[in-house]
Symmetry: C2
Subunit: 80 residues, 2 copies
């Protein structure tokens, strides 16, 4: 069962390249995932894993590092 990751990014702020970069890292290093890119506004840069908000730029006052999202997803993956 693939893990669904959603990246909501502020389009007017020009965060699309950053969102694509994160998507690329996730898709390169993780298997059995889907990555959805959703435009937003007002400085948003949120990452959801299976529908749960796991990173918010508002709360953290920074952008996520790809590694921390990769680790989040690996923890969310059912171990064989």
């Amino acid at each position: 069962m693939p893990i669904d990751i959603k990246i909501v990014y502020c389009k007017p702020c020009g965060f699309l390249p950053r969102a694509l970069g994160l998507a690329e890292e996730l898709l390169k290093y993780l298997s059995d995932i889907n990555v959805t890119l959703t435009p937003g506004s007002n400085g948003i840069f949120d990452v959801y894993v299976n529908g749960e908000l796991r990173f918010s730029r508002y709360q953290s006052r920074r952008f996520p590092e790809p590694n921390e999202i990769i680790e989040m997803v690996q923890r969310a993956s059912p171990q064989p």
Copy 2:
């Protein structure tokens, strides 16, 4: 109501950069859409619009041009 676009690309074939490039063009030029990237295999490069297969590399024997997908999505958008 955003339009959902899904790009299924062959990961082992190295089609991720091409899928990211198409996603970038769609997200740049279209508003009110979500783009999902889904790894696949066996040379696949399919584009779904709202769950409907609208481009298949198997059938067309080529990759899609961003413009033709943009036009498909614009036609699928309800006119105000």
